[in-house]
Point group: D4
Chain length 249, copies 8
């Protein structure tokens, strides 16, 4: 049923050709997709304050540019993840003010300043320096979504004092993102020190039986500390996103 | 928005308090779930001619009986899969005419005779005799859905002549279901002999590296014969179901 | 026993040198392969209307060209899958009218127009835009086999309204092919909306624990919707093939 | 160094036997554990408002009773997870007012009424009825931690309308916990409908390639919806715990 | 085409109603299965001297007895593998002279004495005493197939001298079967000491990361000694069978 | 060549029937196993001071008793691992002074007092109380081998202060054994605090993705702390054994 | 003990300085390695008629050339496996008469003609044309070891008639090597048709869930045909080697 | 609390402004991190005699140079592992006297001569020549930490006499490191021959089911020889490190 059919139905109601009950019955059986749900979707976008993130992998720079132009016209800020440097450079020639972070392969473009949304600070922690690119993806995402973000890098569990030394900063944070590769033990230790939600991000750092991050992932899922939830391997974006949702509550 | 709100809206249309355009706009933004989609679901059930299959695992016989009574009232035929013998016996005390197949752990109850739906014959083949319980689940499902079903058991590839001997029956079938454990090679051979869709069902028959059916599953997914698609390990029901959908086309 | 031996045997029958019973006994023990099964195979090819698909991987362009020439002489249409662009370019220099699809690595060559074979429409659906190359392989295969094919791309479950909006098109299709990577949830949702067979194609789209398509594959095998069968990861060809077999029934 | 050594040191400071600088140097090198960190730990417990959860697996009922008595003396509420029915019955003979939930194998004992802590509602959703025991563990945990909890069961993706019908309730929730087995697709769909954090709990419901919940876990980790984080298979407690931390922010 | 049709065809040849060429053409297109391949199969059985082995798993004692009676009538010796003790006892009540080996779950019944078939000795070696049940299955199978078998048990690689002490016996054997669990290293060492084929049988002996024999299997497949081939985990029967085939060459 | 042949050879040397060079040549080609290596093995046993450990799994109590009697006659102390309680009880009826540890399934029998062998203390640490049975196996083994053993239980990383509080004891130990299940993070933290070898023992404690200890194992293999080596899952014996070897250096 | 010590000992025997018993006792305790076991090894090499195969992977062409020169001096024929083309070209500049097979990455160099060793024919079969490089490695190895080898390529199970057509050749072979990728079903079918040992070689041919040959390997290990043993993935050399050992019996 | 606060506190103690008890209470609650634990860490470094190893992977040569300069200033010797040749060359331009080992990708720089620390010899053994790069990493690490290291290469189990020939050297060593790929059997054999700790290093040498070292790892974890502990795949550094810790005891 399309708009015209709906119009006809309402005309019949108005003219009394069908009773209210008959009209209700017909409306109930309406295929909802004909009611213009794109608008509802539009509402959802506005409500979330975070319209569309573009997943750069497997898209050509031409495809990405086309999407970016549409989003720019709607006045939206743009975040692109997993974007290879070569494509980023092509995009930056058109979107001159866009910013590209080569380590974490993220590009941002602001049509308007980011509006502060977060209540507290999101603290992003890494076990080693090699985990930083993933952490950076989380940092950029959370900042892009209007959060105040702090970082605490290279405080892995093999030198536990480095971590304990920063206990106060950990306790002040509202949400903590912890990225670690290898044995992925850091979220367990952090989770035991704070009473805030910890989002654990396994990274693909390591070799041999680190299995590209699977060991870290498994360790995090089995954390003996409560209050830890996990995202996909190297998914800094996902961690930054859910941390932002939590921080605006 | 509930029914009352809808009623009010239509009353306003009737009385001219709002224009047609205003009414359409309001209807478009209706949360569709308030329109009573269960009815649409009802339509879907009728259309499929196969309303509800009950997954017996993890349900108590009391829970199952309660669902059965509702379905019986609606005049529907009932199929329960993965039902332990003990529960089945409890159910049969209430539903006296229900039929239980202990090998394949399926129970059926007919409120009305099954209506023929299939165009051709569905042929269910097994590699060994130990695969028969899974095959039987497929057979019962397909018969329950109105199909003519034939079987061809114990024709595994280690004695290829047994299979070739039955080539004519294979060529006559409209859809073929092939259940095999161990190396799961049979669907490939069958798929090379016929020009009909082959639904492959890996079974958990075997030991050691058969890994409870994983080897058979992987072999079937890698079939060098075209025209083969696969369902979950031991999922005779799923094979019978999709074969029935195909056979009524 | 070759033809000459068969001839001699029949001569003996004719001349009465052996009795009928003796001849029958000898014929029964004939190695069947000497009876010229290539002809039977020939019949099979014609019957299927889809003689030979060339698997391009691991073959040189010289080898492929040699096969193509033979097939062309027999007047057959040719489909080559998993063909690297470099080899394709070499082939196109000889087979000028051949068509190459670089995204899905498929090459087709028509010696005669494709004959319509399908009864209804095959609808090919993808969860994301990155799944399109696999979907395209299915589309080309199904068209090559004489089917009317429609597509519905980028309707993944995270924005369920996009999918629901197209419900009518889904319900009209005879067979549905659903390609998805990542969590591979789309076939379950589609399978719950239609009463037609759904062929699910896991794609290798994703990262980390997507494990090159294994996660999507597993999800599809465990679909809680009935009526779903699965092919190998990225096997668009296989999906297109079995969908074609189903659609001509 | 124990308290007495610390006392002596301070006495020496007081009496001038060592300079301030010497004292500082000695204090700096103090093994911090001698400073009585158990008290700090005590503070942490109070601050979290959720002192000790007892993991029942692998502990005898005697061991558990001993721990419970200590906790009761400190006036704390007690939550025991993964407690077999037999042990629970033994415990209930001593702690008469304790409450045992056999489906989810959880026991609670309240020394004082639970204090409301949560800001909004936590909504616990399941795909099927077989996922309810895991969901119930989350419900009890979250209620025990002072949250208002609602439930929405059996709304799996194969009948997507059942879920969409409850969209309003989903949108009202502050945090959502989604438990699903088999293909684990539900969190992706829910995550696409709401703008709140979704905690996904894979359950071990399924057979064959569900691999005791691994398939659901992998699907959830690969969710194409942002805003989803995951806990261990069947870890209803963990989901309830982190949801509670989020809900009190 | 059945025998009657064949008879008619030959009659036509005899009577000159069809030419030889026509008859040949018709015979070529005969579905070979109509020619009575069971007889060919029968030939194959006789030729192999090892007609049917019954896989006991998943068959009832009634089913097994029925097969045994048929085989006994044909005067064949019978070997049943993977037969639970309970079923064996039931069978032994009917087949009084049958012999059951509870450790390896094998039952044999001789209608006639085993005919010697092997050229040399088959030596069955185990790493530990816990591997003996699997080895015994190989021993019984090889003896049943007419071979002279010797055994060498508990000579694992952690005490390499035990093995080296028996070097002469190893060098005298024609075929060697080596069963080992845990790290499965023994076939590599044996394979380096002899110039005869080594059939490696991984056993499910071990715990933790022995993964029910997978570790031993993988080690054997990666043997740095040439001349080693592998059968399935715990497949003593398979090892005894192929060793017998080799030993009769 | 057996002893008699050797005797003859030496007689020929003595009598001058063969030259020294000839004798040397013949001796060189002697199969070494004829030289009586069991004696050498005997030496090895004495030298190790730890003759034979009996792996109880898969052996009957009768078999074990037979081995024990032989070892007792040689005056050796006996350690049996993985011994089910039922078998242990049977053994204790004969070996009255034997001691059985039901939690860790170890039985010891001393024919003479254990001789102190270790230089320092071996400290056995566990993450949780559920890891204690595995730890106890290590403790008994190390004590049986003549070591002074201390324990430190339930100091998992989720409450890092509990561990740090005991730092002095950790630093005093010569070798540390660390048993942990779930995420297996404890060895990394301990390894970062001490400068002594750490033997990590993954335990099968956990559920879901702990995969019976695989997660803990992987985490330990990927420890970011140097100085950590790993044994098989639940292999307390192996950890105690190698720790003993280290401690006597 | 070295040669000089042995000489002294014998001198003492000769001169009567020690008794025969004393000498025997001393000889028994000789570390056997001092007896010059390289010679025994030498014997072993000669006996096997197949001295050293060089594994080319991970060796520089310089290293390989050095080994080849030594082997050439000893008059041995040389086989090098897994040799990259670049290294082969460097070697062929020095060993002009060496032969390189680029598809299977094997190089052979003959210092003397290969001596026939095999009793019958080894038949090497492949499922597809892409499996030929692996098969070729087996062919060259077996020929190099003095066997008569025949080949039968591209007879995969999806066109079973191609295989059956060649049944006579299969039945004539003494040993059969069967290489297959994808679902690896061919050895099962071949094993059911012949009464000779079948060496199955899984190849890494396939994509997606073929997992680089694991699926084929698993299928072969689970062959329902008796008489099949398996070597490592792509291990054509190993198959050729053990087939040669079998064929010379 | 920083140093000034501590100073003030002690001043108050001295001046009697607060009682000893009050001071103790305040000190106990001090955040330990403010006590200057970096110094404690410093102590730990000195004590270990092995301050910082730099993991080269994922760091730029600029980052590495910056760390090296700091360490050089502190007068420390430097070891860098997993350093690509390109980065090494850049570093060697600045640190002229640094030494790079391209096979094992290790770079060392000595600011002062290595001080002997080890009590006995560490013997590093490999199964094949291809395992040498990993072994070399262990050798360099152990030498860098002040140990006397010997090597024994290419003594794999397929030619067991090669290993036995060197038994004396094995027995003399204090600690043994055994590196092996493929089936990883060597540590078991070595562990059975010596009474010293064996550190097993699985290497990624092999193909097919060697799975990049997983098979060797699993075999080593399941060693039937006691006294074997395992490190990560290809982790020569880790093996050398723990062997050094053991050798200095």
């Amino acid at each position: 049923m399309n708009i015209r059919k709906l119009e006809e139905l309402l005309k019949k109601v108005k003219s009394g050709k069908i009773t209210l009950d008959e009209a209700i019955a017909q409306l109930k059986s309406l295929p909802f997709e004909d009611l213009g749900f794109t608008r509802i979707d539009h509402h959802r976008s506005l409500r979330k304050g975070f319209p569309e993130v573009i997943w750069g992998e497997g898209k050509t720079s031409r495809q990405i540019l086309s999407i970016m132009k549409q989003l720019k016209q709607k006045g939206q800020n743009i975040l692109i993840t997993r974007l290879e440097e070569k494509k980023a450079r092509a995009i930056q020639k058109i979107f001159l003010k866009s910013q590209y972070y080569p380590k974490s392969k993220v590009l941002t473009y602001l049509t308007h300043p980011v509006k502060p949304e977060g209540k507290g600070t999101i603290l992003v922690i890494t076990a080693g320096t090699t985990d930083i690119p993933v952490a950076e993806e989380a940092v950029i995402t959370a900042q892009f979504m209007g959060n105040c973000v702090e970082t605490l890098y290279d405080v892995g569990v093999a030198g536990i004092h480095r971590l304990l030394y920063e206990r106060e900063r950990m306790e002040k944070a509202y949400v903590l993102i912890v990225a670690a590769g290898m044995e992925g033990a850091l979220p367990s230790v952090v989770g035991g020190l704070v009473d805030r939600p910890v989002i654990a991000v396994p990274t693909s750092v390591g070799y041999g039986t680190s299995f590209g991050g699977i060991t870290a992932l498994l360790a995090m899922l089995n954390s003996c500390a409560s209050g830890v939830a996990v995202v996909n391997i190297d998914n800094g974006f996902g961690a930054g996103y859910i941390a932002s949702l939590i921080n605006r509550m």
